[in-house]
């Protein structure tokens, strides 16, 4: 079981900055995120978009902000459980919590900080009859292990980067790759589009456009799909169907944790951003209160106040005053120390 002081759910900018603020108070953090990499929306949706309202940065790319936040928190050695979704929470007798992910990883912490943004990113599923029946039986929305598709007949649907990249990759793994897209044009890196064209000419990718998958077949697992193109429908044999239509955030299991929810967000007390359950805080885009603004800079503020409250909760009898990094420097958990160089004072004679 993973043990930490503050368990942060969501590794977006607010969650990452919490690591730093908690570290200044000598509190250790561990982060859980459903995505395989930290950064939340900033790295998943718009890593190349500039952000103009981060104080002190007239312009910074979302991806660079993530990298900077990781760097800023690195000395406090946060732990990460990535690619797993926080599923259940159990309150213990000593008021601490055990959070278990969808893959069964258990985390134990006295303080929970939900920094889940708009929720965990879930694949957008096409509306096809019985698609749930075939999930994990030939239908997958993510590719975890490409080897699963070795010498198999694979149908990929979608027109973005993931659909293109996986078609290219699987062309040399699967026995047959068919890429189906609603339009003739693809929304992906030019290089990927060209590669798909080349592989099509080499008969390594079967490209069907403009077309849509209209039905799935199979007894206990996927055995075939129907593809409609220009009013005609054909049936293709398939061992696997991989729809790649992007991700959409959903509040998900957190919505069932007994927290007070309003407008798809968690209600908090603005004193310290604690929820209706003592010890569970909600910070950043996932929370709501009167006057709430969903801005990264507001998330940073909320994270800072939340850490102070968490410290007091964990150390009720310990005196503490706010320290300035310019004065006190930073003592990393990794043994590093950062401090401003001492100014040399010369006497005037």
């Amino acid at each position: 079981m993973i043990k930490t002081d503050i368990l942060i759910i969501g590794a977006g900018p607010t969650g990452l900055f919490t690591v730093f603020e908690a570290g200044l108070l000598k509190l250790k953090c561990h982060l859980i995120d459903a995505l395989p990499q930290p950064g939340g929306q900033c790295s998943e949706l718009y890593p190349k978009k500039p952000i103009y309202d981060i104080p002190g940065f007239p312009e910074i790319l979302a991806g660079d902000l993530t990298a900077n936040l990781l760097e800023q928190g690195k000395q406090f050695q946060p732990g990460f459980t990535l690619g797993e979704r926080a599923e259940t929470i159990e309150k213990q007798e000593d008021s601490s919590f055990i959070v278990t992910t969808n893959k069964g990883t258990q985390h134990h912490a006295p303080i929970i900080a939900i920094a889940g943004g708009l929720g965990s990113f879930e694949p957008r599923k096409p509306k096809l009859e019985n698609i749930e029946k075939y999930e994990d039986k030939g239908v997958n929305y993510f590719i975890k292990d490409p080897e699963v598709y070795r010498d198999k007949k694979v149908i990929i649907a979608g027109g973005g980067d993931s659909a293109l990249d996986w078609s290219i990759f699987l062309a040399n793994v699967a026995s047959e790759v068919t890429l189906v897209h609603r339009r003739n044009e693809f929304r992906g890196a030019l290089d990927s589009v060209e590669q798909v064209q080349e592989l099509k000419l080499l008969n390594k990718i079967n490209l069907i456009t403009p077309a849509e998958i209209t039905a799935l077949y199979g007894e206990d697992k996927i055995e075939g799909v129907s593809v409609a193109r220009n009013g005609e429908t054909q049936t293709l044999e398939a061992d696997a169907f991989i729809p790649l239509f992007g991700l959409s955030p959903k509040l998900g299991p957190i919505g069932n944790w007994g927290l007070e929810i309003e407008k798809n967000a968690i209600k908090v007390d603005t004193l310290d951003y604690q929820t209706n359950i003592p010890g569970i805080y909600a910070i950043g885009d996932v929370n709501t209160y009167e006057g709430k603004l969903k801005l990264i800079l507001c998330g940073f503020h909320e994270a800072t106040l939340m850490c102070q409250s968490a410290y007091k909760k964990l150390n009720p009898n310990k005196k503490f005053v706010l320290k300035y990094t310019t004065v006190s420097g930073i003592n990393g958990f990794d043994g590093t120390r950062k401090e401003s160089p001492k100014a040399v004072v010369k006497a005037i004679i």
Binding site: L45, L118, R124, K127, R182, G246, S248, K263, N264, A265
Partner: protein, 109 residues
């Protein structure tokens, strides 16, 4: 300040006539949110970057709108419930020419 009237049919089929200012650099998705015509968290999820299609709408009236740019077109190519009159409301800026525009919000995905 000039206002335009926009007719919005919400996801339950209820029609609302709302006033939208033309001088606040707003887009149609933001107007829908400001009047809370769709629950928070179900519209404008990407913030208005044409990256999520949660603000997809159907344009019912014959208004001439700003042309679709590549990113909006590409996003709609991957969205669900798309019709010929589909647009991403975050890509339609509020201006005087939109007076009496009628749109219908696409179902939540």
């Amino acid at each position: 300040m000039q206002n335009v009237t926009i007719h919005i049919i919400d996801r339950e089929g209820k029609k609302h006539a709302v006033l939208a200012p033309t001088d606040m650099a707003m887009n149609l998705m933001e107007v829908v949110r400001s009047y809370e015509l769709a629950p928070e968290g179900t519209i404008g999820i990407c913030g208005g970057m044409a990256m999520c299609a949660s603000c997809q709408c159907y344009v019912n009236s014959a208004h001439k709108l700003n042309a679709m740019e590549d990113d909006e077109d590409a996003m709609l190519a991957e969205a669900f419930n798309v019709k010929d009159n589909s647009r991403l409301s975050c890509q339609i800026s509020i201006s005087g020419v939109l007076n009496d525009l009628e749109i219908e919000l696409a179902p939540e995905v």
